[in-house]
Amino acid sequence: MHNLILHTLLLTLTSPALAQEAPTLITKQAQDAPALLWNARTAEHLINRAGFGARPDEVDAAVAMGMEAYVDSLFVIKEMQVPLDPADRLSGKDGMKATERDRLREVRDEGMASEEMLEAANDKRRAMRRSDKQQLEDYTVWWFDTMISGGDPLRDRMTLFWHGLLTSSMQDVKSSYQMIEQNHLLRNGALGDYKSLLIGIAKNPAMLEYLDNDENKKDAPNENFAREVMELFTLGEGNYTEEDVREAARAFTGWRSRSSEYSFSKRQHDNGKKTFLGVKGRHDGEDILNILLEQEQCGDYVAGRIISYLEGVTPSAERQAAYGQLFYESGYDIEGLLRTLFVDPDFYRDEVVGTRVAGPVDYLVGSARRLELLPPRDWLLSGSRLLGQRLFHPPSVKGWDGGMAWITTASLMQRGNLAGILVGEVDPKDVASRELEEFDEMDAMDEMDEMGTMEDASKQKARGVKLGELGGLKKMRGKWSPTLGLSREVGRVATSADAVDKLLDLLLAVDAGEDTRTYLVDEYDKKCREAGLSSRNKRNGRKREAVLTSMAHLILSLPEAQLN
């Protein structure tokens, strides 16, 4: 354990301000605490949080490996084939560049463009937008499949975290190429150092467009990025002044995105003197980022975000400060922070284990992993959207709120319904109700085209967002009848209670309480009776499988199944 802790400190410190002081070992408690027990409980917890949805056989394997070896395995660099090369394809935005569009609109207004010309231009744009949407969906499904297969769980987990923190939305960026390219940046840097990640994201074309720095000009700066980089990426609200926001905005002038690449416009950059967080100079954007990284508060804030995410509980000020200091002094080494956290007994305290509300991606991926299913793409795409976590479309620059904010009365029901579809118990068309079946997101997009501009079409956007989420479920109707093999999974059992326990072990991340267990045994017996299975003879293949499948749906719909 001590070796692991020390590992985190063997780092190259690049910034002069991050002085090479004698490192403070993380929490004293971590050293003083009794040795961390590595058992099924702790192993399952680590798999759930460092990755997704632990299966009983994975828990057994991790326990057998031992903690140190298992933690090491999470950080081994995996050769991962990212099957999509976004450079191969253009984005919808490139389908018709603004100038071309303006030119066409002009000739149309002058009555010089024929109906056919406009129609052809619209067709082209529509086709490009379709392929753009398709490309991002393909990538999203690839990412889901990777999470479900579990080839590189920690990298997937942290990429998901960074996607929520250093976030951008397709809604505004409107280029699948840029969105995917941003995801590659987050994925490659997910376990590296935060300094590189921060500078990378600040110059990332999707981010430059998402937070408008692309339009941040010398004469009248746009403060959007300058504010959010402090509020959300480095210091947290309340740790800077409005004057700092204005000064930082000046420093970032001229940073823009051109042809999906970062470019610097000297002409638009304000080279004047600035005072930022008390530091005077002719700061440019990188100076601002470096000054931010030199603040101990930055270590504290970012470490706090990481810990809150992985533990599902806001850390105490002391705990956050201890990790913040470690993070800061290590030169923002993400791997080091995680290695320390994963062997910290406090990471396994009762307040943390099995008490986090599973986010939609966790719920969907976890359920699929536990049932060993690679679900249909429309279930993943529509399901995550229906539950409120549409990847590459965060609701705001703050990403997704998480915790109990995932749960509304409606989302709780839809989780159960999506589980029902996954196990083949619920017909997707019943979730996508009749009124909504007629809706197709593509139609809304086409309407936008008719309206001429994306801006005019913004009012159509809301409709697309709200109704489009069910479109995919409609498409998958009747095409999904999975083989769960639950009879085999549960095996021969002596009593109904044994069968229920097997299912609970397989499907839940938490121990069900005695009441819930009793209730499920009753339900199991009831279902057996209805299916004509005697309580003794429960080995009748197909009928037994049907009962177990129905039980799996029920269990995944319970409040207990929303925890991990």
Partner: protein, 417 residues
């Protein structure tokens, strides 16, 4: 089921009391709530008159540029600092020599003439935050400390009016994410986007027995999060049928526009006319964070707003429940007075609130903030937004502001008794 009705109801309430006590960041410490709990203790028999009207809260998310909604066309300073995004005096729907409605708020301007629209100018608070999230929290909690102060203001209002008598249909959010204003220790909000899909499929029966056989949360072994989930689960079961039926049975008298806000207000109308006891309905309109291309973008949202409000008004007009409905609109902040270099505006401070309804005494309330005497380029608020909340709480729900906000705010008079 032979279960004693009273016992079942009681248990459900107990479980629900735990529902919304947990924010995104884990358990809130209600002990730290500035003595709120104490102020909510109203002696039995002194229960205020809860009335019967419905309040619709419309949230403009992203920071609405108030100067583009209620345009100060009579102020040269407005044209000086907004060379490319100002609305020309000839385009606005004039209210008076100084101000007018956005050119796209045609129906709203017309309704203003009929005296059913109150515009409360310069709403904000001391030491304004320019963070979307912090400022939104402040408006939601009605407290400068945001969610650190405890429940949302609607949650507090609900406890003051209905004590622990919970009705799962009473507080509804039509939208994906429930706003913090509805965060409540006792009164969970039902929340959905599509009423049609608001149900469990396949195992409703089995889920029903879970609820009834399930013991008290102390057996959960998993502590508070599970209890909160069980509360949401109960609320979902209890609200789903009534809400879905009300929405599906409803035949609006007009066609609502096919926008998110249009559909949400259509659903709100269904809940109001369905008579299922929905008293506070929350809806949201986004798209206000206009750092660039503001003129086109903001005009688009204004058009969307105007069409949706017009449909909602036409649908409810002349009906008892419809005329007993008041709509209040707000945003987390207004925007910078001067435009930026991207034909947009950055985060600012004060902005106008709107209150609409048959019972509203229309007109201009408060004082327009000066466009020249600024705080770092930002408007200085002239009305504390809690003053507006207070009047709404008192006149619709019979709760005095001292009980809610610890301070007696003077009514502006837009909701006469």
């Amino acid at each position: 089921m032979t279960m004693d009705k009273h016992t079942t109801g009681q248990k459900a309430i107990d479980r629900r009391t735990l529902l919304r006590g947990f924010g995104a960041l884990g358990a809130l410490t209600f002990a730290s709530r500035k003595g709120l709990a104490a102020s909510l203790q109203v002696a039995p028999g002194l229960r205020p008159d809860a009335g019967s009207g419905t309040l619709v809260i419309l949230q403009f998310s992203g920071g609405n540029d108030g100067l583009s909604m209620i345009v100060p066309h009579g102020d040269d300073a407005y044209y000086d600092v907004r060379p490319t995004i100002a609305h020309k005096p000839g385009d606005v729907h004039k209210i008076d020599d100084y101000r007018g409605f956005n050119p796209n708020l045609t129906a709203l301007a017309k309704r203003y003439q009929s005296g059913e629209v109150a515009v409360i100018e310069g709403c904000g608070y001391e030491d304004p935050s320019k963070s979307h999230f912090k400022s939104m929290e402040i408006w939601h909690a009605a407290d400068r400390d945001g969610r650190a102060a405890g429940e949302g203001w609607v949650g507090r209002l609900s406890s003051a009016v209905w004590k622990k008598a919970v009705d799962p249909n009473r507080i509804v959010h039509v939208g994906a994410t429930t706003p913090y204003s509805l965060e409540s220790e006792h009164h969970p909000a039902a929340s959905f986007v599509f009423p049609e899909g608001y149900r469990w499929l396949g195992n409703e029966g089995g889920l029903g027995s879970y609820e009834e056989s399930d013991g008290t949360p102390k057996d959960s072994g998993s502590g508070s999060t599970l209890d909160a989930l069980r509360g949401a689960y109960s609320a979902a079961r209890e609200s789903s049928s009534a809400v879905r039926k009300a929405a599906l049975a409803y035949r609006p008298r007009v066609e609502y526009p096919n926008s998110g806000i249009g559909l949400a207000l259509g659903t709100a109308a269904a809940l109001i006319q369905g008579g299922i006891g929905s008293r506070i309905i929350s809806v949201e309109l986004g798209g206000f964070d206009t750092h660039n291309k503001q003129l086109t973008r903001h005009n688009g949202v204004m058009t969307e707003l105007d069409e949706a409000l017009a449909a909602f008004h036409a649908d409810l007009k002349g009906t008892d429940r419809g005329e007993d409905t008041t709509l209040m609109a707000f945003s987390e902040f207004g925007r910078r007075v001067a435009e930026n270099g991207s034909k947009g505006t950055d985060h600012g401070t004060a902005g106008p609130m709107l209150v609409l309804g048959k019972g509203v005494k229309g007109g201009i309330y408060g004082k327009h903030p000066s466009l020249t005497k600024l705080d770092n380029g930002n408007l200085i608020h002239t009305t504390d937004f809690r003053q507006v909340y207070s009047e709404v709480a008192a006149q619709i729900f019979g709760v005095e502001s001292k009980e809610l906000f610890g301070k007696q705010y003077k009514h502006l008079g837009f909701l006469p008794s």
